[in-house]
């Protein structure tokens, strides 16, 4: 093993040692907000956040059922009668008159619903009584579905899966209306009165306030966003939709079209997905079911001829394709079922070695889809004819470069960087090795 291999091993070992050493040495007390995302997640699911239910990308079922609610604001049940418009505009009450805890709230897990005692002050009720308010208004004045002296439905409002610091926002000059909008005409406030992404981005533009996703959305330990509150595949996931940042809307064709989007900003994908997610398909051991149907093996040659650029994103022609084709008998064999005259031959029986420019010849096909050739052949196949007769492994002097290659900058670039490749076809002293504009 060369010293560089040892260096390579040392880099890997070092990285592992750093992680293990740091992770196993004396643990200090962890009372700070280091895992700042935990409370939101725990409250949302009612227990510890063991997982949010990631599944291998190769498996199907990406378009599963979807329960009600949003990935940020879980479904609420608020069986109350409450007219915000009247309280705020007719009675002139400030928001903090009822939402007393809001100005000091630091996290989205804080319960900011008015305490029942807050209502008692004006409504004359007495929620402290175990048998219900006495002498005041009937329960159904405020509680929907309440009987004469009993309440059967309760408020269920799981906290938003968000980071939100009311105190910090108020300190920076924001008002309730800035995020929640006006209460004019609003009776019962619902999730519709909670901040929407578009309004957040008004200030969170990357300059006035941070615009990274984890500014507002809780993250897992590894920094990726929590896409679901818990492991329930029916829960709506935090999936980019139309008008989402960076045009990453996951529409029905996103799997087919995501390459161009990901290439423009790979880091954007890492907001939710880690490298393992990419490798599930791009370096996977299992056929991705969203991409290839079960019968794909039989018909894949048609796709390979048409969409080789898509194939190449997951399959290396000289390992994956060639490895399988060699095993089942494709390749450089002149005999056998895939050879000339064989019943399963790939190339036409005649005319395959014809001149360039005519469809049905190997030159024509190779110019348009060389990767398809490389899926069965290695370079040696080409050298048999395309090497010069003076090369170490002589060929037939068939020039594959195309017109004007010797005088092109491409020839200069290739020769200056990998002369060894040139010498596979040319002898070291071959005048044809000369490149540059002066060469005809």
């Amino acid at each position: 093993m060369s010293r560089w291999r040892w260096l390579q091993a040392a880099v890997l070992s070092g990285a592992a040692a750093l992680g293990l050493a740091a992770g196993t040495t004396r643990a200090g007390p962890r009372r700070g907000p280091a895992a700042e995302h935990r409370p939101e997640v725990q409250r949302a699911e009612g227990r510890s956040d063991r997982t949010d239910g990631h599944v291998p990308a190769t498996l199907g079922g990406a378009y599963g059922p979807r329960a009600a609610g949003s990935p940020v604001y879980p479904r609420q049940t608020i069986p109350l009668r409450m007219n915000h418009d009247r309280h705020v505009f007719e009675l002139g009450l400030p928001c903090v008159r009822c939402h007393t805890a809001a100005p000091q709230s630091r996290t989205a897990t804080d319960d900011l619903f008015p305490a029942s005692a807050t209502c008692d002050g004006c409504h004359g009720s007495d929620h402290r009584s175990a048998t219900g308010p006495s002498g005041g208004p009937p329960c159904r004045t405020c509680h929907v579905g309440a009987g004469a002296r009993s309440i059967q439905r309760v408020v269920r409002a799981p906290p938003a899966l968000l980071h939100f610091d009311h105190r910090a926002h108020l300190a920076r000059g924001a008002t309730c209306d800035t995020c929640h909008g006006t209460m004019r005409g609003v009776r019962l406030a619902t999730v519709l009165q909670l901040p929407r992404e578009a309004s957040c981005l008004t200030c969170h533009d990357g300059m006035t306030a941070p615009s990274t996703c984890d500014t507002c959305h809780p993250t897992r330990a590894d920094g990726r966003l929590v896409v679901r509150a818990r492991d329930d595949r029916r829960l709506p996931a935090l999936v980019p939709r139309a008008r989402s940042p960076w045009g990453m809307a996951h529409d029905l064709s996103f799997v087919r079209d995501h390459a161009a989007i990901a290439k423009a900003k790979p880091a954007a994908c890492r907001t939710c997905h880690d490298d393992d997610f990419c490798r599930d398909c791009h370096a996977g051991v299992v056929r991705p079911m969203r991409i290839h149907a079960p019968s794909y093996l039989t018909g894949h040659a048609t796709d390979a001829a048409a969409k080789v650029q898509d194939c190449a994103s997951c399959h290396a022609s000289q390992t994956f394709c060639l490895g399988c084709h060699e095993r089942v008998g494709f390749g450089d064999r002149a005999t056998g079922p895939f050879g000339v005259g064989g019943r399963g031959r790939v190339h036409p029986a005649s005319g395959w070695t014809g001149p360039p420019g005519a469809p049905g010849t190997h030159a024509f096909e190779a110019q348009r889809n060389l990767a398809a050739c490389a899926s069965c052949h290695s370079a040696d196949t080409c050298l048999a004819c395309h090497a010069t007769s003076g090369a170490a492994n002589p060929g037939l002097d068939a020039n594959p470069h195309g017109p004007g290659f010797a005088g092109s900058s491409r020839c200069v670039a290739l020769e200056s960087r990998s002369r060894r490749t040139c010498l596979r076809c040319h002898a070291p002293g071959d005048p044809a090795l000369a490149c540059g504009p002066s060469v005809p």
Partner: protein
């Protein structure tokens, strides 16, 4: 350092010994240096995927000979995060993070697919599949360290070449007070023949059996604009090279480049997200041509209900510079894609059109191409409907071109039962191939899948699937597939 043959035996042994002890000493020093730290690994993630499958493959062209595949693959990912001591005063969204994650893949083929490989195939198979353990990633990753530094050390993936490129080494990004950052990376490329290496994310073009054995270095860097919510941009450079070696007997030693690329990327978010254009280009410096270009835009209107996507992609095949495939005259692929989706509450409708051209590009000198362009067109439509416990998706497509014509449809459904613990999946596929470009012949291809996804426990899922498929050359084939996945995050310490 020259290739292995350049050093005499004794000297080489001494060099190996020094390097070995140097490497081990470095590791020990790192451990010793970190031992007294008040580190606190509070978050551990465990992810395990166990895949098992068995199926048969009919050997094309043979008289009904079947190859049996029985494969088992285990992917194990372990992560330790939040290694830095807590800082109550830090802004949670901007505090530094340090973590480590490693992913190992163990695989084995029990079927006769591998055993029957002979001759050159056997050599290739051994090089590719003979090693059963792949180290897919192992990196220490820091983000926002000291408020301005991102780094990764170890085995990682670089995607800024508009591809997946695996290397062992370091990556660092330094942020500045303005929304501009500088990046640099360096290390050794991962190859199929390396110890714990794997082939999928290395430069293609040379079979593992013929690749040079010397170390391959990678170096690169870039400048990016990231911060404002409306723009991202980056310009980067990456080179993969080998140290100097004589190209042929009598030739002077030369440093050899395996890949050299320049890339640029940009994404914009305009009109409050209504228009989101993006683009990326890769210029192959060694090949003196644009090898990858993608441009596109998303147009979201109607309050986000409607989404229109337009993309243009242009790809020119590029191989490892050690391959003679690079010197052949080739023409690029070009795609124009147009997609439209409308979301109607629980239902989404989608339509997509694609036209592909195998461009007759000008030659290297600018001369007219020797032959005309060829192209093909495809259309696709889909609908999905989702309810609380049930989801359905149906797709249909048709495509035609020089490679032949295809048409087909698929339907899939999923429903949850038993308190959302059990998902039942059904899928059916049909494809017609006219056989022009298929070695297996044209005809009707069909397949049916029935599967389950059982939530055994929070984060533990068992997927079982059986499928039956048929085609003109393979009257029926049966496949059984199982996957046990575990995805856990454990919080340690006293938090």
């Amino acid at each position: 350092m020259g290739p292995r043959t350049a050093a005499p035996g004794t000297a080489r042994t001494a060099v190996r010994s020094r390097a070995r002890w140097g490497g081990l000493g470095g590791v020990v020093l790192l451990i010793v240096a970190l031992a007294p730290c008040r580190a606190s690994a509070g978050d551990v993630t465990i992810r395990s995927r166990t895949y098992g499958e068995g199926y048969v493959v009919l050997v094309p062209g043979s008289e009904g000979r079947l190859l049996r595949r029985r494969r088992l693959a285990q992917i194990l990912s372990l992560g330790v995060f939040d290694l830095l001591p807590p800082d109550p005063a830090a802004d949670p969204a901007r505090r530094g993070r340090l973590g480590f994650r490693a992913t190992v893949r163990i695989r084995h083929d029990f079927g006769d697919f591998q055993r029957r490989a002979a001759g050159r195939a056997a050599t290739l198979v051994r090089a590719e599949d003979g090693r059963a353990v792949d180290l897919l990633g192992a990196a220490l990753e820091g983000r926002r360290l000291f408020g301005a530094l991102d780094l990764r050390i170890g085995r990682q993936i670089d995607q800024y070449g508009l591809d997946f490129f695996a290397f062992d080494g370091g990556f660092v990004r330094v942020r500045t007070p303005v929304p501009v950052a500088f990046e640099a990376l360096g290390g050794l490329a991962v190859r199929a023949t390396d110890l714990l290496g794997y082939p999928e994310m290395s430069v293609d073009g040379v079979p593992p059996t013929e690749v040079s054995t010397g170390p391959r270095f990678v170096a690169g860097g870039g400048v990016l604009v990231d911060g404002p919510s409306w723009i991202f941009g980056r310009v980067g450079y990456r080179q993969v090279f080998e140290r100097s070696a004589p190209a042929a007997p009598g030739e002077p030693p030369r440093r050899r480049v395996a890949e050299e690329i320049l890339s640029a990327q940009v994404r914009l978010r305009l009109a409050k997200g209504i228009v989101s254009p993006y683009g990326a280009v890769r210029y192959d410096v060694a090949g003196a041509r644009v090898s990858d270009l993608s441009l596109g835009t998303d147009l979201a209107f109607g309050g986000g209900r409607h989404l229109l996507r337009v993309q243009y992609l242009r790809t020119h095949p590029v191989f490892d510079l050690d391959s003679v495939f690079n010197v052949f005259f080739t023409t690029p692929f070009s795609d124009v894609r147009l997609g439209y989706q409308v979301n109607l509450g629980r239902t989404a409708l989608h339509a997509r059109w694609q036209v592909r051209r195998m461009l007759a590009d000008r030659t290297a000198s600018g001369a007219e191409p020797p032959a005309r362009a060829l192209g093909g067109t495809g259309v696709q439509a889909g609908v999905s409907h989702r309810r609380r416990r049930f989801a359905l998706r149906a797709d249909a497509f048709a495509r035609g071109g020089p490679e032949g014509r295809l048409g087909g449809a698929s339907v899939e459904a999923r429903t949850f039962v038993f308190h959302q613990r059990l998902a039942l999946d059904t899928r059916a596929y049909y494809t017609y191939v006219d056989g022009v470009g298929s070695t297996a012949g044209g005809g009707h291809l069909w397949a049916v899948q029935i599967g389950t996804d059982t939530r055994l426990y929070s984060g533990i899922h068992l997927h079982l699937l059986v499928e039956e498929a048929g085609s003109p050359t393979m009257r029926s084939s049966f496949r059984v597939f199982g996957a046990l996945s575990l995805d856990w995050q454990i919080r340690g310490g006293t938090r």
